[in-house]
Structure formats: structure tokens, C-alpha cells
């Protein structure tokens, strides 16, 4: 698929007609496809759908047919309601004035596939294609198919028999015995998007459609996997049945012999058991005295009301009036039910056989070991087979498990060797939060039973763990390197450590809230640090001072840049031999660093190592003495490694450190090999939750600490992600915790320091393509302006402004091509990076742009990169659809991104769920901009709102911003109106100043 191809939304649903059950697939696109009147205007041809299907599945042998079928859609005039994925990309035009949509029938070209085939596709992994997005109906059937897959995998299906008016057929039927399965079906029914019923509108309901799909999927899939079994000539009905289970035709016979009747009633009996409202339950009774006899008591329990439960004992003999009254409501033959249940239970948990020896089995005696076995191994299995197990309240909890607390104190040496520093330690044992002495531990280790009675509680004692700890206590060493101590807490999963505390300077390491020496703000800092920023500076000072690499992971908008600049400045001021710090960052952020450094620390001499005319090898090494800070990009790290390697850096700061992972192993190795006295990583994403980011960042700040790639995978990635192991996750947290400082906008200490609404300007360079086009456009305008006067002159100027603004958003807005590659515009690159952080933090954002085409590009890029939905409000959208968008955005669980390309008007639009506002391009009138911003910000709300304004450096955007801020010789007063007409009143020489592009603004895109 070429880069100019559009996005398609793939739809599909199960379809039932008189003859068969099939699956329909169709695709939707934002390009209006001219068709005959009754055809859905945005549905592609069926052939196209088949082609798209082949692009996403791995198996090309799927049989497809094509057809057109009618389906009902809510329709605004002549526009059917579009899927959320492309809503906003299409103009409803006149139809947007229609307030009340109607249900209209449209012809939709579809590809038709068999259920067994689609089941295989939907329950497997498809190839995933950037341009093809699954619609909500498609996603629903994926879920349904996954559910069916699980049913088949757990063998919750049986070969049965079904009868209709003339024939007897075999069928593989799903058996949903447990209440969790049954309630999952109901949940799925409620979750079905109504679009799934569009082709069967008014004929069937959601439950029927789902259950039909499930039954047909199980049956046809099972058949298709079995090699056909041919029956011998004299085969009876039983063999006919068995054979038909393996063939495509499910026919068994036309006659109803006795055998057939038997198998038929057997099928029905199974269903009855599932539908029967009572189930057998197991209750565990602990021993009275000191002996080891536990009892497993047999009970009858109501499925609908689990509080209705009586023991078997009361039913045998039929003496108990109340018990009889209860059970007779459901069956005339209660004993049959009890025996059948026991019979089946015995197949799962064989010891029950012993109980069946007596006449009226009511309970089964067990030793504590057997009880442990039962609870651990058989409980879940019984639960899955339609039994109920009343697990004791104390089972499975983490009580009764002893754990360790490590108390570390400074070692005998005073040298600050980072992780190699020697430290002393003491061990404390705790159980259920209470310290416990060695004597008590030894006593517990000696008890035979697994379960210990303490007061009213029973505890399960983990003997293995107890013994391990006793051994550790005996092997306690004197001093170990800090890394080893931490590793005890983290890596070795055999030793249960729950906490680490420290004394002396170690206290600062393990407990960041502890008071640290608060250094003075550096003298050369042009600005006031906020409280939490001072704490940050103090922490950086401490960590770097002790030789630890560290990571500052504050939320976006809290001012990490300023904190780092303060640290660099402070270090610079306090040293005799001043060194040079290297700042590595993404290209789109370089200008911002320059800006901030110049603003806050003008005494530091800054050099940007970037661009095609950057210094060659020896030149940089020779002139390095002239600089205090050198900024370069990740892309140049490997390319210019030879140069950078030669310099002994004072420190290295990796901004947007998650880029290290993106840049591949070469770059990770490169950044690790550079020599530096301190290393600091900066990131806004919550890296504790992102294992890959975590590993690559730690690889940079403390190499080797988390182990190599393979070890990390084995020790952490697999247990945490694949098995969802919480203890490993905790351990990792303890390992990395001391080295990461993260404050978020919702922290109490932070909120009081921050203004509710803060505007942050982000300076973004232009790409080479943009620079070239920019210069050419300006040149042409200046030439024209010489000759023209009056209206014609203003006309040219204003249209040039528009052209340039569009160019800075993305070149395709000016060239008209459909290449939406994000690298053609640094604004897009920066936006995508910011969105990654915002999404990772679970926040919501509004993106304002004046141009609908920019909005379309942004939406497409978001879908492709994040697979997230981006609401898009553009021009003509029907009122109902607009309201729907706003409601969904304001809902906490709804979409997180809202792109708006209409003038912020539309009074009363409330979008306060957003805590971030991005002005992708700007209205140069503060009043208009604020009105847009205020969609999200309301005075007095408790959330902090960050407003980001993108400015392309060196361009007219930067200059006009300068005018608005009163920083240039051109007075603010000339900005009179709400549009840019004032620009046309400028003299030619002023125009030249305003429009000419500054050279330094140009970033380098991949050579």
C-alpha cells in the first residue's frame, strides 16, 4: 500500500438469513465514492474489501463471495452516520443542519465468508496494517471469537444431537456451566454495538445473534479440524452419529430409532443440568481440637442466591421439613441430584470416592495436607465444572508468609563510589506487618501441619520460605557493595524482601521525602525556582554527588528543563575546572533547549552541534574549551560518534530519554560508551510501567544494573507481562525507585506551587523542505508587493501569510500531495511525542488548528501511531454528532484527544476534561486564543491546565509572537483587528524583516 492511500475502516458482522449463517465484511472510507443512489456513499466495492481483508490476514486461502445487501443506518439527509474513526474527516455539508436523523436503508457491498473461517481469523492475530482500522463491530466479534476460542480450549463443548421436523443432526455444542461464563455472555450481549444488527434489522435481537454465532462457530470449527471418519458398512446409528460429527454435513439419519432417542435425551439432560438452578457446594470445616482432621462438607446451593445453602445431611432421610420444602421446589428426586453431583465430583477429586462408601454421604475427612492439596489444585477445577467451593476467608491471602526488612547503614569507607560503595546491613523479619523473633520462627518451622491456628485465625505457613529466611539470618555478612544489597532486594526472587530503609546518607537514597540539604539557587539563574523544583535540584545534587546516575521523570509542563539547567549552572559555578555538558535530545526540541538556556542561564556558553554545516571532527575537539553546553540530537549520536567519543564530558543529559530505546542498539551503545562524570536522563512518561523504556534508560544511567537484555527479559519482562506477577513488579520497583524522581501535576506539594493555567511556548525548527518553500514564497511576495498597491497589495500579503502558516503546519497543505509523512513537519513530530507522554499519563488534550487539512493529517497520524481514537470537530457536523463527541470526551473513559478546527465559537462547549491544550497554529489575537483555551480551563476548578503554543523558530510565527509580547520595536498596538489585516499596512522594509526566515532555524531531516 503506497503512502498516499487512505484509511479504511473494516466492518463485519454475523448475518442470519433463512438458509444459513454467514459473516459479512465491508469497508468504509472518508472518500465519497460516487455510486448509484441507494448505495452507502462511503462503502467501498466488495472487491476492495476482499483485497483489504487479504492485507490483514495471514492465510490467503479464505473462500470469499461478494454481494450487496441492505442495512439500516441512522442517516442525516443523505449522509449515514459515520464510524468514529473517520468522523470529522468528511463534511456532512447541508445535511448537518438536520437535527433528527432517520433510520434509512442503504445497499452495502459486502464480502461474505464462512463462520469457521472468520472465527479462525478473528481469534488469531492478524497482520495489523496502518491503513486499515477495525471498526467497533469488528472489534466486538473479535471479542466474541476470543470467548469461543477459550471455550474450545477449555474443552467446554460436547458432541450432541439436535432434531428438527425431518432429520436428526449431530452438533458440537458449547457447554457453559459456570455462572461466570453465563454472565460473560450477557455482558457481551449488552456490549454489542447496534451496528452489528444493521443487516438483520428488526428481525432478531442481540442475544440471538451472539448465541447463534457462538453455536455455529463451535460446530463448524470443530468439524473442520477433524479428519472425516468413514463408517463401516454395517454401522449402526451410533457410528452414523460419530461419523457425522466429522463431516461437513451434519446429517445423522431421518429415522428416530431407540438409540437416537437415547442420545437425544442425553443431549437434553446436559442442557438441563446447566439450566438447573441448584449446584453442589463444598464447605471446609477446620478441626475442633489439636488433631489434624478437617472436614469437607457437601452442600446444596442455589445458583441465583448463594446465601440459600443447606448440607446434604439434612436432605438424606427426608426428615427435615424445611430442607425438603426448599429442595422440592426444584426437583422431586433430590437424592438423584445429590448422587449425580457426587458422581461427577468424584471424577474430578478422586478422594470423594471414599465418602461414597457410606449410605448417606455427607462429608469427607481430610488431613491438613490433603486440604492444602484440595484448595490449591482442585478448587479451581471444580469451580469450572459447575461446582461451588467455599474457600476459607484466610486462604490465598499473603498472611502467614514471613518476609524481610533490610536496614542499611553507611559502610566504613567515605569514598563516594556510587553503586560500588560498601554498606552495612541488618535484617528484620516481619509477618503480617508485625516483627517476629527468630525463636518464634523456629517454633513455627517445627510444626507439622501447614496450617497454624493463631487466636481465631488460621494461617497457611509457607515452610520453604521460613527455612530460607532462617538460613539467611545465619549467613549474614558484614559489608557488601550497595549494588549487591539492592540486588538482594530485587533480583533474587527467592528471598522475600518487602522493604529497605537506610541510615545516614542512605536515608536520602531510599526515602526521597526526607529532608536534604537544600542548596541555594545558583547565582546566574535568571528566574525563580519553585519549591518542588528546589527539591529536585537538591536531589540531583545529591545523586550526582554520590556518583549515581539518575532519572528525573516529572510530568510534562512541570519544568524539568529549568531544573536541569539550574543543576548545570550550579555545578559550573562551584567548580574550579569547569567541564562541558552534553545535552542529547530529539531534533524537534533543539531550538527549545537553546531558547531556555539563553533565557535562564545566559552565563553558560551554548553550542549546537547540528545541521549540515556543523563542525567536523577535530574542530569540535579543539574549540570545545569555548563552550559550557553542547546540544546535539539522537540522530547524530552514532553518526558523529567518533567526534563525541573523544571528549571527556562533565556530564551527559539525555532529554526525552525514551528515545534511547527507539534509536536502537547502536545508539544505546553509543550513549553508554561516552565518558562522563554524571549522567542524567529526563523523561515525562511514567517509565515504571514501561519496561522497555526502563531498561534502556537504566542502561544509560547505571549500566549493568538491571542486567543485559536477555537477563532482564527473563527476570522481569516475562513474569510481569506474561504472568502478571505482582511480587516481581514490586521488586523491580524497589530496585529502580531510588534512582527515579517523579512528581505529577496532581501532587499536593506541586499544585500549591503552580498556577492553575500556565502557558508554555514550544519552539520548533522547520524542516529543510519547509525552509526552501518558505524562502521561495517570501521572495515571490516581496517582488509582487513592490509593484502592487491598495487592495491588490493587501491581498497578496494576506494570502502569503495563510500560505506560510499552512506550510508550517505541514507541507502537503501547500503542495496538495497526499504524503502525510510526519517528518516533513517538525511540528508534527513534536506533537506526536507530546501526545505519547500525555497518553501515557492518562490525561486528555485539546488540539486547536485553523486548518481542516492539518486536522485530518493529525487524526490520521494519531490513529496510525497510537491506535487511539481522536475526535475531530470540523466545520459542518450535525448537532447531534457534535453533542455526542463532547459527551464522549467529557466522560472519563472516553477518547483522550480532541482535534478542533473550527473557530472556538459555539458558546457553552464544555471540554474541561482536558488538562492540556495545544495550539498547533495560532490566531494572532490573544482574545480569540484565550477563548479557545477556555473551553478547557474554568477558573476555580481543581485541575491544572497546561497550554502549549507551537512556534516555528525563525519564521513569521516567532516574529509576530515577539510583537504580541512587546519585545520588538513594532508596537503591540498595530495588532488592531481579529485577523491579520494589519500586516498589510506595514511598509515594505518592515515586511521584509517580518517575513524573512532566520538561518539558524533550520533543522536537519535525515540525510
Amino acid at each position: 500500500m503506497s503512502k498516499t492511500d487512505h484509511m479504511y475502516v473494516m466492518h463485519g458482522t454475523c448475518y442470519i438469513d433463512e438458509h444459513s449463517v454467514k459473516f459479512l465484511l465491508w469497508s468504509e472510507t472518508s472518500d465519497k465514492i460516487k455510486k448509484t443512489e441507494n448505495f452507502h456513499p462511503f462503502a467501498t466495492s466488495a472487491q476492495k474489501t476482499v483485497k483489504l481483508l487479504n492485507d490483514i490476514i495471514n492465510d490467503k486461502k479464505i473462500k470469499t463471495e461478494t454481494t450487496s445487501l441492505p442495512a439500516h443506518f441512522p442517516t442525516f439527509g443523505n449522509t449515514p452516520l459515520l464510524s468514529n474513526q473517520i468522523s470529522g474527516m468528511v463534511d456532512y455539508t447541508k445535511d448537518s443542519e438536520i437535527d433528527n436523523p432517520e433510520l434509512k436503508e442503504w445497499a452495502v457491498p459486502c464480502a461474505v465468508v464462512d463462520i469457521a473461517d472468520i472465527f479462525t481469523i478473528l481469534s488469531g492475530n492478524d497482520k495489523g496494517n496502518e491503513y486499515i482500522i477495525p471498526g467497533s463491530d469488528f472489534l466486538f466479534w473479535r471479542n466474541a471469537s476470543q470467548f469461543v476460542y477459550n471455550i474450545i480450549a477449555e474443552r467446554k463443548f460436547l458432541p450432541t444431537v439436535v432434531e428438527d421436523s425431518f432429520s436428526v443432526r449431530s452438533r458440537w455444542t458449547p457447554i457453559l456451566e459456570t455462572s461466570s461464563d453465563q454472565s460473560m455472555v450477557q455482558s457481551l450481549v449488552k456490549d454489542m454495538p447496534l451496528a452489528c444488527l444493521a443487516f438483520n434489522y428488526g428481525q432478531i435481537d442481540a442475544e440471538t445473534l451472539l448465541k447463534t454465532y457462538m453455536n455455529v462457530a463451535v460446530d463448524t470449527f470443530c468439524r473442520s479440524q477433524i479428519n472425516t471418519y468413514t463408517i463401516p458398512a454395517q454401522g449402526g446409528d451410533a457410528l452414523k452419529w460419530v461419523s457425522s460429527l466429522s463431516s461437513g454435513s451434519s446429517l445423522v439419519t431421518f429415522s428416530r430409532s431407540l438409540a437416537i432417542q437415547k442420545i437425544s435425551s442425553w443431549s437434553r439432560a446436559i442442557q438441563s443440568r446447566i439450566d438447573f438452578p441448584l449446584q453442589m457446594a463444598f464447605d471446609l470445616i477446620p478441626p475442633d481440637g489439636d488433631d489434624d482432621t478437617w472436614k469437607l462438607r457437601f452442600m446444596v446451593q442455589s445458583k441465583n442466591d448463594p446465601s440459600l445453602i443447606i448440607p446434604f445431611e439434612r436432605i438424606w432421610g427426608r426428615n427435615d421439613v424445611d430442607a425438603m420444602a426448599f429442595i422440592k421446589k426444584y426437583t422431586e428426586f433430590p437424592e438423584e441430584f445429590l448422587l449425580q453431583s457426587l458422581g461427577m465430583a468424584q471424577l474430578i477429586f478422586p478422594p470423594i470416592k471414599k465418602a461414597l462408601q457410606s449410605a448417606n454421604p455427607a462429608e469427607l475427612p481430610l488431613t491438613s495436607d490433603e486440604v492444602y492439596q484440595f484448595l490449591k489444585d482442585y478448587g479451581a477445577v471444580l469451580g469450572e465444572s459447575g461446582f461451588s467451593v467455599l474457600f476459607p476467608e484466610w486462604w490465598g491471602k499473603k498472611s502467614g508468609k514471613p518476609a524481610l526488612k533490610i536496614k542499611a547503614s553507611p559502610g566504613s569507607q567515605t569514598k563516594k563510589l556510587g553503586l560500588e560503595t560498601l554498606v552495612k546491613y541488618d535484617l528484620e523479619i516481619v509477618m503480617d506487618g508485625e516483627p517476629i523473633g527468630v525463636g518464634e520462627l523456629e517454633r513455627l518451622a517445627a510444626i507439622k501441619s501447614r496450617f497454624v491456628h493463631i487466636g481465631k485465625k488460621w494461617l497457611e505457613i509457607d515452610k520453604e520460605q521460613l527455612n530460607k529466611i532462617l538460613k539467611m539470618l545465619r549467613d549474614n555478612k558484614k559489608q557488601v557493595p550497595l549494588a549487591q544489597l539492592l540486588s538482594m532486594a530485587g533480583m533474587d526472587s527467592n528471598i522475600p524482601v518487602i522493604d529497605i530503609e537506610g541510615d545516614g546518607w542512605l536515608k536520602n537514597l531510599f526515602n526521597k521525602e526526607h529532608h536534604m540539604d537544600m542548596p541555594e539557587q545558583p547565582a546566574g539563574l535568571m528566574g525563580e525556582l519553585r519549591e518542588y523544583q528546589k527539591q529536585g535540584l537538591s536531589w540531583l545534587n545529591f545523586m550526582a554527588g554520590y556518583g549515581f546516575g539518575c532519572c528525573l521523570a516529572d510530568d510534562m509542563g512541570l519544568g524539568k528543563t529549568i531544573e536541569i539547567i539550574s543543576y548545570m549552572l550550579k555545578r559550573h559555578e562551584s567548580q574550579e575546572n569547569k567541564g562541558v555538558t552534553l545535552v542529547v535530545c530529539p531534533t524537534s526540541v533543539i531550538s527549545n533547549w537553546v531558547h531556555e538556556l539563553n533565557k535562564f542561564a545566559p552565563s553558560l556558553r551554548v553550542h549546537v552541534h547540528h545541521g549540515s554545516d556543523r563542525m567536523k571532527e577535530q574542530e569540535l575537539v579543539d574549540t570545545i574549551i569555548n563552550y559550557d553546553v553542547v546540544i546535539t540530537s539522537y540522530s547524530l549520536l552514532t553518526r558523529d560518534f567518533n567526534i563525541l567519543y573523544k571528549i571527556n564530558w562533565e556530564g551527559i543529559v539525555a532529554d526525552e530519554a525514551q528515545y534511547i530505546k527507539n534509536s536502537g542498539t547502536k545508539q544505546s551503545r553509543a550513549i553508554r560508551s561516552l565518558s562522563a562524570m554524571y549522567r542524567i536522563a529526563l523523561t515525562g512518561t511514567p517509565i515504571e510501567n514501561r519496561l522497555e523504556d526502563l531498561r534502556s534508560i537504566f542502561d544509560f544511567i547505571n549500566p549493568g544494573y538491571l542486567g543485559g537484555e536477555k537477563t532482564f527479559k527473563k527476570n522481569f519482562t516475562e513474569p510481569i507481562i506474561k504472568e502478571g506477577d505482582d511480587t516481581v513488579s514490586d521488586k523491580l520497583g524497589r530496585l529502580v525507585g531510588p534512582f527515579i524522581l517523579r512528581r505529577v501535576k496532581t501532587d499536593k506539594n506541586v499544585i500549591s506551587d503552580l498556577p492553575e493555567k500556565e502557558e508554555i511556548k514550544l519552539y520548533v525548527p522547520v524542516s529543510r523542505e519547509q525552509a526552501t518553500l518558505y524562502a521561495a514564497t517570501v521572495k515571490a511576495m516581496l517582488e509582487d508587493v513592490e509593484e502592487l498597491k491598495g487592495i491588490k497589495r493587501s491581498g497578496i500579503i494576506l494570502s502569503t501569510i495563510t500560505k506560510l502558516k499552512r506550510l508550517m503546519d505541514h507541507p502537503s497543505l501547500v503542495s496538495g500531495d497526499k504524503n502525510y509523512n510526519e517528518e516533513r513537519s517538525e511540528k508534527m513530530v513534536r506533537l506526536m511525542d507530546m501526545l505519547e507522554e500525555i497518553l501515557a499519563n492518562g490525561e486528555k488534550v485539546l488540539i486547536f488548528t485553523q486548518y481542516i487539512e492539518a486536522g485530518k493529517i493529525i487524526k490520521e497520524l494519531i490513529i496510525k501511531r497510537f491506535h487511539e481514537e481522536a475526535l475531530f470537530l470540523s466545520g459542518n457536523v450535525p448537532r447531534i454528532v457534535r453533542e455526542q463527541m463532547i459527551e464522549r470526551f467529557q466522560n472519563a473513559g472516553g477518547p483522550k484527544i480532541f482535534i478542533i478546527s473550527v473557530k472556538a465559537g459555539g458558546a457553552g462547549i464544555n471540554l474541561t476534561a482536558a488538562t492540556n491544550v495545544i495550539h498547533f497554529d495560532r490566531w494572532w489575537n490573544p482574545a480569540v486564543e484565550n477563548q479557545a483555551t477556555d473551553r478547557a480551563y474554568r477558573i476555580g476548578q481543581s485541575k491544572l491546565v497546561r497550554v502549549y503554543k507551537f512556534i516555528s523558530t525563525g519564521t513569521i510565527e516567532e516574529k509576530i509572537d515577539g510583537i504580541i509580547e512587546g519585545k520588538t520595536y513594532l508596537s503591540k498596538k498595530i495588532i488592531k483587528s481579529t485577523d491579520e489585516s494589519w500586516v498589510s499596512n506595514l511598509s515594505t522594509s518592515n515586511l521584509k524583516d517580518l517575513f524573512t526566515l532566520r538561518k539558524e532555524a533550520i533543522a536537519e531531516v535525515k540525510d
Binding site: 441512522p74 488469531g124 467497533s136 476460542y149 480450549a153 474443552r155 477433524i226 506474561k722
Partner: protein
């Protein structure tokens, strides 16, 4: 009932001939049955059970000749004008006992639980079980005894109900045929009020079937919201087989003919082939 003596009329009931009424409400003047539907019949039946058979007969004739000029129905109350023998039409007022709000809530709740009631009602029919439903909810659909109906007529006839009142009853019964809501209105709830209470239930049910509940001009907002709504549930693949480790056929052994060694072996093989097939699904 007011007694008025006009001229020679004595207080005893005497047959009289009414004046011809122009433009009155004619009930089935060609003969044939008045009140065809079961509830209308039942209404008449109950009135007859009060011992009013004779008078009702006369009322029927009046109704057929169109002597009832106009009828006004408010919740629970009927006021009508009937042309008698005098020049000025007689005023008839009939009042039924209103069912209180709480009981109505019970009735509507009970009706909501059985969708047939709703759909029949909307189609212009009353379900035969409705009397039972009213009773279970603590009330009665039709008035239980004569005292439950207050009747008034400005004519001189002592009899209660007089033939004018009876005529109005017949006209009502005929009206019940085409619109059972009137019957319910006499017990205190208008059509709008009842439908309002149903429309939520109606919407829910229809949404579940994927049918768009219409609100008169278009489809409901709820339907639009749910049309393309993203699924909230995600179902993940189970990792270990937490299910039974025994083959389901052991839990539910088939009948003896189907349980011999050959068949069991074949079925086990099938399960194995299915398991292998499942593993092949691209992961």
C-alpha cells in the same frame, strides 16, 4: 337525581318518546352488536350484573338512534348531553372511582414486566389477563359494585340509571372497542401518561433488539450513541487450562450404545484433533 314534575307526568316511570336528535353520536344504528371487543362486552356484562338489564335495553335504543349528542371525558369523569323528550337535552354525569397513584404505579410496573401488555395496548387491544393484573396490583379494572359509579342525570326519571345514562354507557362501550385507553382513562390515567411510563421500557427492550425506538420524528439519541459504540469488554486468551483436566465425556458419559470402546476412542481422537487445530490458529 333531581325530581321535576312537568305538567301531567307522574313520578312513575312511563314510556316516552324522545325527540329526534340531529348530529348525535350514532352507535351501530343498523343493528348488529354494540361492543364487540371482550372488554367492552365485559363492561356491559358487569353493568347488567347490577340488575340494570332492563334499563340498559332502553339505553341501547337511545344510543342506536343517536340521541347522545356529545360526550366529554376527563380523567375518571364523563359528562354528556342526551336528547330526551324535552326540548333541552338532559345533562348526564358519570363518575368512576379513580385509582390512586400508588396503585397505578403497581399496575404499570406489572405491565412493564410483561411486554405483551405493552405491545397489545399499542396495537389497540387489551390482554385478557389485564383484569387479573389489576387485581394483583390491588385494584379492579371495572367497577366492582354499583356504588362505585356515581351517576347523575337532569331528567325527571327516578330510575338510576335512567335510560339516558344507559345510553351514555352504550356509547362508551362502543368507544372502548376502538380505543381501550379510554377505559383506562376512566380509571385515572391518560394515554399520554401511560405511554410515557412505557416508553422507557419500550426503549430498553428495543435497544436490546437493535430496533430503533422512534420518538415521533426520528430515532432516539440512545440508539445513535450505541450504534458505533466501542466495546468496553476485552477478552484475553486464557493462559493455562484452568478448565477440567478430564475430558468432558467423562463428566457427562453418553448412553451405553454410544459409550463402547470404539466410539470413545474415536471421540477422544476428535478432541485431540480439535485441540491441535486450535493451536494452529496464528498466534
Amino acid at each position: 337525581m333531581s325530581k321535576k314534575y312537568y305538567g301531567n307526568y307522574s313520578p312513575y316511570y312511563a314510556p316516552s318518546r324522545p325527540r329526534k336528535a340531529e348530529g348525535g353520536i350514532r352507535v351501530n344504528s343498523k343493528g348488529g352488536v354494540v361492543a364487540k371487543k371482550w372488554w367492552s362486552k365485559r363492561f356491559i356484562e358487569i353493568l347488567s350484573s347490577y340488575g340494570w338489564a332492563n334499563r340498559l335495553q332502553r339505553g341501547r335504543r337511545y344510543a342506536r338512534s343517536g340521541q347522545v349528542l356529545r360526550i366529554n371525558i376527563e380523567s375518571g369523569k364523563i359528562s354528556a348531553e342526551v336528547q330526551g323528550s324535552m326540548a333541552k337535552p338532559y345533562r348526564v354525569e358519570i363518575e368512576f372511582q379513580e385509582i390512586d397513584e400508588r396503585t397505578w404505579n403497581n399496575i404499570i410496573d406489572a405491565m412493564k414486566k410483561k411486554p405483551e401488555f405493552t405491545s397489545l395496548l399499542l396495537a389497540g387491544e387489551l390482554s385478557p389477563e389485564i383484569e387479573e393484573l389489576f387485581e394483583k396490583s390491588g385494584s379492579k379494572l371495572f367497577p366492582a359494585k354499583p356504588d362505585d359509579i356515581k351517576m347523575n342525570c337532569s331528567c325527571p326519571d327516578y330510575a338510576n340509571p335512567c335510560k339516558h345514562i344507559a345510553a351514555v354507557f352504550y356509547v362508551m362501550a362502543d368507544a372502548f372497542d376502538s380505543d381501550p385507553f379510554i377505559l383506562l382513562q376512566l380509571r385515572g390515567k391518560t394515554q399520554e401518561q401511560i405511554l410515557q411510563a412505557f416508553s422507557e421500557a419500550h426503549n430498553e427492550k428495543h435497544l436490546a433488539s437493535g430496533i430503533a425506538p422512534s420518538n415521533g420524528t426520528g430515532i432516539s439519541r440512545d440508539f445513535i450513541d450505541k450504534f458505533w459504540r466501542e466495546p468496553a469488554i476485552t477478552i484475553s486468551e486464557i493462559h493455562q487450562q484452568s478448565g477440567s483436566t478430564i475430558i468432558p465425556l467423562k463428566k457427562y458419559p453418553p448412553p451405553s450404545d454410544f459409550n463402547d470402546e470404539t466410539i470413545t476412542a474415536i471421540l477422544n481422537r476428535y478432541y485431540e484433533e480439535i485441540r491441535k487445530g486450535l493451536e494452529k490458529i496464528n498466534r
